[in-house]
């Protein structure tokens, strides 16, 4: 019942919403980023972060720090918070929270499969996986030779199984069809998540459909840009777009036939929300597109906190934290590699 969440939401969701809003207030602010950008060494970064909520996670790290350690510890904090929320959650919030991690799960599957294809060590690959997307038998992925085996051996036990229905082939795995698999899985995942949120109804459906539509559109644009100049056919490309979002269905028709970035631009500029993003780019420039999309996403995610009694805040919080970790990683890398002039290139301020 839309508009009547206030009556019942707090019975199950109130505590966790309070928790997540508390977590949100711990996000780094623009002032923090300004200070971080002035750091000279990684120790300075650690020192500054020790005054924030990351403090307890970093305080016991011995002094020659590495970027990976910082990122690892920051991710650990996110994972701890996520686990805390997940253990406290009841249905349907717990399912909602689990949905958030499926994206990482897909990435991890792809990472392991690609890694084994290139004969990398499984343990090494496992360390690179995002901890939120881990599942029990993830290491067994290395055994599989083709999609069918992948599905039959491992993924049938995971929540990703239903998404696989579209990409079971007996072809051997190679880079191209792994990438197609990733996008097919992602498409199925986004559509499923979207349906799930619609089923929840109320403010959750409204806010989440907006956020997910943005995600779907962004993926559509990225798929288009990345597939320009590859052997992917128009129909195949069309199949990878999620069947919802602002671009669905007419925008997809246009994107499917695009041959270069300017055509993408022309197609996108018909949609007012994306017009602003594309108007920031000069012609032929796609590097800044990622950042522009991230900025737009962060803006939308922050707006999710403006309304109460919905699950969108959990999604938004996790995404914002991930963006923050990306920012920290970028800053630390810049500091570590003495590239301080580029430090502002990819940092997206959250507040």
């Amino acid at each position: 019942m839309y508009g009547f969440e206030a009556m019942t939401f707090n019975i199950h969701g109130g505590y966790l919403e309070a928790i997540v809003r508390g977590y949100r207030s711990g996000l780094l602010t623009a002032a923090d980023y300004n200070n971080l950008c002035q750091c000279e060494t990684l120790d300075d970064i650690k020192m500054h972060l020790s005054a924030t909520e990351y403090g307890p996670y970093l305080q016991n790290e011995p002094s020659p720090l590495h970027t990976t350690t910082i990122v690892e510890k920051c991710t650990l904090k996110l994972v701890d918070e996520y686990k805390h929320m997940l253990t406290q959650a009841t249905e349907p919030l717990s399912t909602f929270l689990e949905y958030i991690t499926y994206g990482h799960m897909i990435d991890n599957v792809v990472l392991i499969v690609t890694g084994t294809l290139h004969e990398r060590d499984v343990q090494e690959l496992l360390e690179k996986c995002h901890p939120l997307g881990m599942f029990d038998s993830i290491a067994t992925l290395a055994v599989a030779q083709n999609m069918r085996e992948l599905y039959r051996l491992v993924l049938v036990d995971t929540p990703l199984a239903p998404y696989f229905s579209e990409c079971i082939t007996s072809e051997d795995l190679d880079d191209m069809n792994i990438e197609i698999m990733r996008n097919t899985l992602y498409k199925a995942y986004l559509e499923d998540f979207y349906r799930f949120c619609q089923k929840l109804g109320g403010a959750t459906a409204e806010i989440m459909s907006d956020l997910l539509a943005f995600e779907a559109d962004r993926r559509a644009v990225n798929i288009t840009i990345n597939s320009i100049g590859t052997e992917l056919t128009r129909d195949d490309r069309r199949k990878l777009y999620s069947n919802f979002g602002l671009l669905y269905p007419y925008g997809h028709e246009e994107l499917a036939v695009c041959e270069d970035i300017d055509q993408v631009r022309a197609a996108m500029e018909k949609y007012p929300p994306y017009q602003t993003i594309f108007s920031k780019l000069s012609y032929g420039e796609s590097q800044i597109l990622d950042k522009a999309f991230y900025e737009e996403e962060v803006k939308r995610l922050c707006l999710a906190f403006e309304q109460q009694f919905h699950y969108g805040v959990f999604f938004a919080y996790m995404r914002l934290r991930e963006q923050e970790i990306r920012n920290l990683m970028w800053i630390s890398e810049c500091v570590a590699q003495n590239q301080k002039s580029r430090v502002h290139d990819s940092v997206v301020f959250i507040f």
């Binding site: 500054h48 016991n60 038998s137 067994t140 290395a142 055994v143 051996l153």
Partner: protein, 819 residues
């Protein structure tokens, strides 16, 4: 006026006089100076580098080093804790060591510990692997034997297993060895044996089944006891398995799956005699390893114990150093970069102490130049600092919980020391309960030294902190209980016998007609005969209600008078004339008058109805009072009082904002035209140009609205606050009624039965109810109500409470924080 000004000064009445000081410290003696100041602990430094982030400050490297050292100390502490040792300061005092030395020592210790851990970890891992291997060889052997009948035919042509060789002695490389499965023989049946966590067995088996499409045989046997996992060294339940399969492809797959599931595979020879031999070898190796491990552990424990002696001291030292550098970071470099400039607040009485410490620092560090210490002017309001002792501290805390006093403002804590426990006792008047509380408070005070040094739970901490409040509360409870004549709700004839007597010997009509007074009034407190009489409640209610109003009016008057002292102290004649005077007139012409009437009625025994008097004083002031008249001229007096009250309201509302406005315009004009004449005065008044903007803006409407709110609040508050004091009566009534119920309906009822068990149960219920409901809950509720009466009804008359606390840089406080 003269008399008031010449009153002796009270220490707690006003916060310590503070001064803003500036310190110019030569760099070479800075560290020592700050250390000594920390020992004195009477100066609060201001952060002069507010705009700089932590890593841009001067002593950032030292702070980092301290953080690194405390990290190492934490690591060592964890190690000691994990080893199950208790760090204890050594009996012999150790020589002081320098920070640099400590840093080196710590690095050495940490390095040593890490190395030792790594060694023992490696050994432990080998040991665990061997243990698993032993287990696998035993269990898998059994499985092989039992399934031997199936594979007996194939067993005949075993290849020699490649690695049943002296290599086993070199067991540390066990894992690196290629995991050889059982020999593949003619029929192509091979096996892999290993060990896996019990929780993973099911999924493992399912995965194997799926991969091999069912072409395998899975045998398992649970391990006898928990085994430490080689990787994480945690104790887990494990299961030994043997998988039979056929084909080389499958073998690779199975090994991959084993790896993915974290199953440790150990090759087992199929030959029984070989197996036995290996088991023997492994066992002997295990015992060797065990002794090595133990020796290593002993060595480590010894090292940890020797570190443990110093640990507390070192931690303390590092914490101090950290605080010193944090403080130094608040200081500024002067232009020449040879001196550090610091600003801060200190109480005036501490001036000599601080100067002494600074001189000592200069002397000890052989500095050529002394530390310059001088007093500055400041616009900012100084911090509030009360010197409290363990007795007054709790009361000061009660006041501070509402708000820290403005600098030099009258401190209500002085009065709270007595009024708070007393108001509590008015609500909690029962000398039986009072004695129970007293015993508790005395217990806490008697064990003060012991309890003070140890860590208490949050509840005990609170109780212990308020022990002196508890002491006074219980003493006053005993006193009020004697006045109410209640001991667990039982009246006692302590001060002689009752003044009343039955009409006849049977005493049959005592409840209906009443008693006769036959001698002088009961000398102290309530006559015990009231208990149980028909008019007990009306009598006590009337008594307690009137008493509450008297206390309330008295306390509110005290509040207003304190306002007067504040105004006098800050030389604010406006506040006296247009706030204090009308306020005291208003309150006393209404409720002061009521109080006088109450006392008069008590003294004369008049039958006048005070409700009627008060109500008709407003409704029809000119009407004849009739039988309600207490004294001659009462009607005229009432009219005068009413008029005074009516005048007082506009008096406190209008003049002050208008006068403030006039003063402001006069000053403004004076500045315009009288520069020559008044400029000197201005310099005297306002030494700092920063102060001027504060007076520039004068928003009349704002001031007026503010004054209006204040006046309305006071006028309404006078009524509502007086009514609020009636809670004294209400809670006291509730307390006595509750204790009556428990006494009569539980204890006496149970005593009525001639049955030991019922009596015991009744006694237990009574004791329980007394302890938990009356002594704990009621104490808490009376405490809260007393708190409210102080915070709201008393303090809103005079207390602004918008100051901030004096937080000196002090090592003593540092240690408290950590504990």
């Amino acid at each position: 006026m003269e008399y008031i000004d010449n009153l002796p000064s009270m220490d707690l009445m006003r916060s310590e006089k503070m001064m803003r000081v500036q310190l110019i410290i030569p760099v070479e003696s800075a560290h020592r100076a700050v250390t000594y100041l920390g020992q004195v602990g009477l100066i609060q430094f201001r952060d002069l580098n507010d705009d700089k982030s932590p890593f841009q400050r001067t002593f950032v490297n030292q702070v980092k080093r301290c953080a690194e050292m405390s990290r190492k100390l934490r690591f060592i502490k964890d190690q000691i804790h994990n080893a199950g040792l208790v760090p204890s300061p050594s009996p012999a005092s150790q020589p002081d060591i320098e920070l640099e030395e400590l840093e080196i020592q710590l690095a050495e210790h940490e390095h040593g510990l890490i190395e030792m851990n790594a060694n023992s970890e490696k050994l432990q891992q080998t040991y665990n692997e061997l243990l698993e291997f032993k287990m696998v060889s035993q269990k898998a052997g059994d499985i092989l034997l039992s399934s031997g009948s199936h594979v007996a035919a194939q067993e005949t042509e075993l290849d020699e297993n490649v690695h049943i060789s002296p290599e086993y002695a070199d067991t540390s490389s066990l894992l690196e060895q290629e995991m050889q499965p059982g020999p593949s023989n003619q029929s192509g049946v091979g096996f892999v044996s290993g060990i896996i966590c019990k929780s993973k067995v099911l999924r493992f088996e399912r995965m194997l089944f799926r991969t091999t499409r069912g072409n395998m045989l899975f045998n398992q046997a649970p391990a006898d006891n928990k085994v430490p996992d080689p990787a994480s060294n945690e104790m887990v339940e494990k299961t030994v398995f043997v998988v039979f399969f056929s084909g080389e492809q499958v073998r690779i797959k199975i090994l991959k799956i084993c790896e993915a599931f974290g199953a440790n595979c150990y090759p087992i020879p199929e030959d029984t005699t070989k197996r036995r031999q290996i088991t023997r070898e492994v066992s002997s190796h295990l015992s060797e390893l065990e002794s090595t491990l133990e020796a290593g552990l002993r060595h480590r424990d010894k090292a940890l114990i020797s570190i443990g002696f110093h640990l507390a001291k070192w931690m303390n030292m590092v914490r101090r150093e950290n605080a010193i550098y944090d403080t130094l970071n608040m200081l500024n470099f002067d232009v020449t970069k040879k001196c550090l400039v610091g600003e801060g607040w200190c109480p005036i009485f501490a001036k000599t102490k601080i100067q002494e410490a600074l001189q000592r620092a200069t002397f000890d560090s052989n500095s050529q130049v002394g530390v310059i210490f001088h007093v500055m002017d400041s616009v900012e309001s100084p911090p509030t600092y009360f010197q409290t002792n363990q007795f007054t501290n709790a009361y000061q805390e009660i006041v501070d919980a509402y708000g820290v006093a403005k600098y030099q403002e009258t401190n209500p804590a002085v009065y709270t020391i007595v009024t708070f426990p007393f108001l509590f006792a008015v609500m909690f008047g029962d000398w039986g309960h009072g004695i129970c509380l007293l015993l508790g408070a005395l217990f806490l005070i008697a064990r003060e030294k012991k309890l003070g040094s140890q860590k208490l739970g949050s509840f005990m901490e609170m109780l212990f902190g308020g022990r002196y409040v508890l002491l006074l509360m219980s003493l006053f409870s005993v006193y009020c209980g004697l006045i109410y004549n209640e001991f667990f709700s039982v009246p006692f004839h302590i001060f002689g016998s009752s003044a009343y007597q039955c009409r006849d010997s049977t005493c049959s009509d005592s409840r209906s007609v009443g008693l006769l007074k036959y001698r002088d009034t009961y000398p102290f407190g309530v006559d015990p005969s009231w208990r149980g009489s028909r008019s007990e409640l009306p009598f006590l209610n009337s008594l307690k209600m009137k008493m509450s109003i008297l206390f309330g009016v008295a306390q509110m008057n005290l509040g207003i008078i304190l306002n007067y002292f504040n105004a006098r102290y800050f030389d604010n004649s406006l506040d006296i004339k247009y706030q204090f005077v009308p306020q005291i007139i208003f309150l006393n012409s209404l409720f002061g008058y009521l109080s006088v009437l109450i006392i008069m009625k008590w003294c004369t025994g008049s039958q006048a109805d005070l409700y009627h008097v008060m109500i008709y004083m407003f409704l029809s002031p000119f009407e004849d009072l009739g039988e309600n008249q207490l004294f001659r001229g009462q009607g005229v007096l009432q009219v005068i009082l009413l008029l005074l009250a009516l005048i007082a309201v506009p008096w406190m509302l209008f003049p002050k904002p208008f006068i403030l406005k006039r003063l402001h315009t006069e000053r403004f004009e004076g500045r315009m035209y009288g520069i020559l004449g008044t400029s000197d005065n201005y310099d005297d008044e306002e030494p700092d140009p920063v102060r001027q903007p504060h007076h520039e803006e004068f928003n009349f409407s704002e001031v007026f609205v503010h004054q209006m709110i204040h006046s309305i609040e006071f006028v309404l508050g006078a009524v509502s606050n007086t009514a609020s004091y009636l809670r004294l009566w209400a809670l006291s009534l509730a307390h006595s009624e509750l204790s009556t119920v428990f006494y009569e309906k539980v204890l006496l009822l149970a005593w009525g039965y001639d049955n030991l068990i019922i009596r015991l149960v009744g006694l237990a219920v009574f004791a329980f109810a007394t302890a938990f409901i009356l002594l704990m809950m009621e104490t808490l509720s009376a405490f809260l109500h007393a708190l409210r009466l102080h915070w709201v009804e008393f303090q809103n008359k005079f207390y602004s409470g918008d100051g901030y606390k004096f937080r000196p840089f002090s090592f003593a406080a540092l240690n408290d924080d950590e504990d």
